[in-house]
Each structure stands twice: as C-alpha cells, then as structure tokens.
Symmetry: none
Subunit: 198 residues, 4 copies
C-alpha cells in the first residue's frame, strides 16, 4: 500500500514537472516512466484513463502545490501591494532557476490540451479557480470593495500569467517585476479608494 502510493505519487510529480517544462504533447509517457523510475506496467494500473488522467492529476497537483506557496507568501506580506510584488518575485525566481523553462505549471497544458479533453480542462479550470478564490478573499481583506475584488483578481492573475509568457519569450524576468509592480500599485489604489469613499 505504501509502495503504491509512492510509485503513483512519483509518477505524478515527475509528470507534473515535465508537463510544465515541455508541455503535454512533447512529454512522452516513456519519459515519465524513465524519469520516475516507475515500472511500465504500472501506468495503466494507476491511471486507467491513460495520459489524460495523468496530466489532469499532475496539473491539479502541481497547481495545488504552487497555490499553497502563493497563499503562504501572500499571508506573510504586510499588505496587498507587498503581496503582489512577492508573487512576482516568486515566479521570477522560478523562471531564473529553471533557465526560463518553468513558468506557470498549468498554462502550457491548458493551451495545448484543455480544449480537447474534459479531464484536463477541468483540472486547469480548478487550479485557476482556486487561485482566484484565494486571491479574491485576500483582496477583500486588504480593503478592495467586494464588488471589485473578482475583477481585480482577474486582472492580477491575467497580468502575471501574461508576464510569465512574455518573460519566457524574452528570457528576461524584468517584465514580471514591472508588471507585478504596476499591479501592486493598482491594488493599493483600489484599496485606498474604497477606504476614502467609506
């Protein structure tokens, strides 16, 4: 029982890393098997629905893990703008550490495979939904009016996601920093405007 969990988890973690770096179609199951050291016959035992199921679980897992890290950083920040800046630094560090290969663990798979497969689509949607829910809640705590929080959260996440894309293309994390900075200002303004008005 322990072995099973172990093998299964190792496959998910390996697959998550590979899907994030290479995307869905460029990642072969053989590579996942080889790098995770898992036996070949086990794949369809643990993931009867095959590659799609593995991808869906991998995306959910790595997206969830990253969501937790993001939540922790945000919780540790003194205020909203500082939190947004910290998020930018988190992603910028990840890009640099991986040679601009690891941006968002969901985006590539989402663009490639979400349109064709419901499991994967649901996993991607779930990850982004969870991230946004957490962010929206935080924005509310920072003083952003409730009827603005969802829109601001969309903007913040969109901006960061887009900045990650541009940063990978430019091989330069500058855009992540500047975008995060501007989003932080905007969040500050949204919170301040609300307080003033109240």
């Amino acid at each position: 029982m322990a072995r099973r969990t172990n093998t299964r988890q190792r496959m998910i973690d390996t697959a998550g890393r590979l899907f994030q770096r290479q995307g869905y179609h460029a990642t072969g199951l053989n590579q996942v098997l080889a790098e995770s050291g898992a036996p070949k016959g086990s794949l369809y035992f643990h993931f009867p629905a095959g590659k799609d199921q593995l991808a869906a679980e991998s995306v959910a897992r790595s997206g969830g893990k990253l969501g937790e890290r993001m939540a922790a950083m945000v919780a540790a920040a003194p205020d909203g703008p500082a939190a947004i800046v910290a998020l930018g630094e988190l992603f910028a560090a990840s890009l640099l550490a991986s040679g601009f290969r690891e941006g968002c663990p969901v985006a590539t798979v989402a663009l490639e495979a979400a349109a064709d497969n419901d499991q994967i689509h649901a996993a991607c949607d779930g990850v982004y939904g969870a991230w946004l829910a957490g962010l929206t809640e935080r924005l509310d705590g920072w003083g952003v009016p409730a009827d603005r929080a969802a829109a601001v959260a969309d903007l913040v996440l969109s901006g960061i996601q887009g900045a990650l894309l541009l940063a990978r293309v430019r091989k330069d994390t500058g855009v992540v920093t500047t975008v995060a900075g501007q989003l932080a200002d905007l969040v500050g303004r949204e919170a301040a405007g609300h307080e003033e008005a109240s």
Copy 2:
C-alpha cells in the same frame, strides 16, 4: 511563379491556423499538408529546415497579420482607453467565433517550442516585440509619459495575454472584457496624470 507563392503561402496560412488552435506538437505536418492541399514533397522544398522553419514563418506571418489588425483598430479609436477596449473586443470576438480555440496565435507555440528552437524563439520574440513597439508608440501619442510607456505597454499586453489564457480555460470571454476595461482605465489614468503634472 504564381503557383509557388500560392502553395508556399497556403502552407504557411494553414500551418498558422493549426498551430494557433492546436499548438506546435499536436499539429502534424500531414495535417498541414492535407488541409493546405499541398503535396508532401513540396514541404521540404519550400521549408528545407522542416517543421521548425514552417512554424517560425507561420508564427511570424499570423502574428504580423494580427498586429496589423490591432494597429488598425487602435488607430481608429478616439483615444487610448477606447483603443484598449477595442483590442479586448477583437480578441473576445475571435475566441467566440472559434469556440474558444483561437486565442493568441503565438502564445501556445511560444510556451511549447520557443525554449527548444532558436528560429521559433526568434519569431515569437519578434512578434511580441513588434506589438509592443506599436503599442508603446501609441501610448506616447495618448499622453502617457515616455518613461512609463514601455512599462504600461508590457502591462497591457501581459494582461490581455493572460486574459486570453483564462478565457480559454473558462470558455467565457468575460475576463477578456473586464481585464481590458481595467487596463483602459489605467491607461487613461497614466495619460491624465501626465497632463496634470505638465
């Protein structure tokens, strides 16, 4: 002579559409050949460097075409904020018309293949660079201070790119509209702040 241009161009256009919708690795050359009606042997005559060359030229072409459409819409808008909103509508319409399959013609390929291939990387970089150059110039004309224009352009493009990703995942163009709206407000503020200060 006419045939050459025709066949080669047809292949590029077909490939551009497929790469945009399915991504790089999910698009087989056979499919490009079949949908463009080109014979198999012609591919490596027109694109000796193979799939990578085809992808690079396709991305440059479709990115360039879209850049022209964007420039035209922006030029036709009465002011900056209206232009940003119009851009959002342009992408939202494209998403809807394609069943949320056609977002940015560059993003998927960039995330999948740019890290592994210099030609493709250069093409993606070139497209985004051209878009940003045009946008930066426009922002300057709208009154955004010159030392802010590049950063604002980065934010605008990032926001739109991220919104396109989220919209495809949600199968809902709402996020594109709200993000574009907020970016439009921000551009208005940047321009107004400058005028006041001057």
Copy 3:
C-alpha cells in the same frame, strides 16, 4: 516466454533473408515487419537500437547458421580438397536455388554498412572470424603446416567470397566451381608438401 522467442526469432530470420538478398539499405523495416508478420511496435521492444541492432543480430544469426552447415559438410568430407569442393557446391546450389540472389549472407551488408556502424561491423567481423577459425583448425588436421594454415584459410575464404560475387554478376555458378577446384588443389599441395618435408 515462448511468444517472445518466437516473434523475435521470426524477425531476425526474415531480416537475415532480406538483408542477404537485397542488402542493408534496400531492405526497409516495413518489409521485414510485413514478411515476418510482426507489428511495428514490437520491433523497438525487441531491438531498442533499431535497424542496426536488427541487422547485426541477423548477420550474426545467418552467418552462424551457415557456418554450422559449412562445418558439417567439411566434417563429412574424406579429406581437405574434397571439403573445399563441397563448400563450393554448397554455395553454388544456394545461388542457383535463389536465382543468384543469395550469395554470402554477410558480404553485402558488410560492404554497405559495416564502415558506418560498430554493431554491424562487429557482427560481420565475428562471422568471418568464426568461419576462418573453423577452417584454420580443419586445415591443420589435414596436414597443412600450422604456420601456413591461417594464410591458406584467408586465401580459401577470399577466393570463395570473390567467386560468389563474380557468380552473381555473371549469373553463372561456373566460377564458384572452378575457383573451389583450384583452391582444393592448392590445399592438397600444401598438405602434401608438409608431409613430404616431415
């Protein structure tokens, strides 16, 4: 277990026959697959190193089999010259039965592919080495002096190999017979000279 040996062996045997008749480059894996009735996916399971590995094992196998037949014929001959003549008849019969398509199972592949691939080179070298070792031992038994046996074996094998080439070009087994006859005389002379001298 039995299944594996069967499929793998069938592929090797089929490939050996085709490589012998058509050579390395003219023999496609599809043809091997079709004629052996094996699916493509099995090929790279049994031969992960691909065509080269298949060719190397095929050459070793068919060369080994033929070596056994040659050894048996030689062992059954009353003396050295008779054995050489019998070898000539063995090859002549093979040429005739195959319409001058099956000469040496190693030579064509050796000339085509041995220079470019170490596996294949080693296999060819091994087959000829084994043949020569057997022949040298026999020559010793027939009274050829030990310090002459290796050179005589080289001459005998060279003569037969060259005769097989000429016979295929002429579509006539005559040269095999006459060359084998002269080599038989020579072996007789070498043995007799030794006995006299002793």
Copy 4:
C-alpha cells in the same frame, strides 16, 4: 557544349566515388548533386533514365579507370608473380588511403543493385569482363597454358575481391597482401609447370 560535358563528367566522377564508398542505396542523388556542384534540374537532362543510368555509367567509368591503372602496373612488372603482388599493393594502398572505405568500385553496387537492374548489371559485368580479359591475355604471355588462363584469371580476381572484402571488415590490409602473395606463387607455378611440360 564544353560545359555540358564538364558537368556530366563531374557528376559521373562524383557519383562513382560515392557509390564506391557508400553503395548504391545509401547514396542519394541530392548528395551527388551537392558534391558535384551540378544544378538540380540537369540530372534528368544528362541521365534521362535516372539514378540507374548514372550508376551504370559511374561504375563503368570508375571500373574502366581502375582497369587502366591495373593494366599499367601489370605491364610494368617484370613477371607474372610480381604483377599480382603489385595489384595487391595497389588495392592495399587504396584501402589505407581511404580509411578502408574504398575497395572495389564495382563490388558493392554489384551486390546491391545488379540483380534488380539490367543497366547496372551490364555495367558491372562489363567491368569485370574487361578486367578478366586483360588478365587472361597477360597470363598467356607469362607462360600459363591457354586452357588454364581463364580459370587462373577467375581465381586471381576472385581472391583479390574476396580479400578486399575481408580487409574492409578487418580494417587491416594484411589479408590483401597475403592473398596476393599466394596467388602470385600460384601463377608462378602454373607458368613453370607449363614450361617444364613443354
């Protein structure tokens, strides 16, 4: 007209070298075109029957050239045995100079393609026939009885051809030398025996 002849001849010479080194099927027309610097469209102007015609003419040409060199060396030798030894040295030098890639310019193509194509078959047959005719004539001059000359010539050519094969496989010219030496002895014996008997 001069240019045409030039181009055509350059293609033949380049093709001859490549066919000798790589064989028929491993040599692509593109490579011949590229290395000969000939325009692509010219191939089917000069060789309407395509690759087969090019191969046939190449084999005939390189075989003829080599035949002339062999004849010259043989003519310069003081007697038969010395001539055979000289032939061995000629081939051994060629093997060494080419890293054991250039043996007989006919053999590889003959084994690969002669069975399937009449033009190529005829060219190979013609080259070997011419070589044998010259050799037979010489043997007669050296005192080998007329009714033995053809058989001895067959043996000599077979032995050398086989030795070239073995030498390429072993990456060692030793076998060429020892075989040529033994063939030289044999030729000496044939000539001496005849003189004695007369």
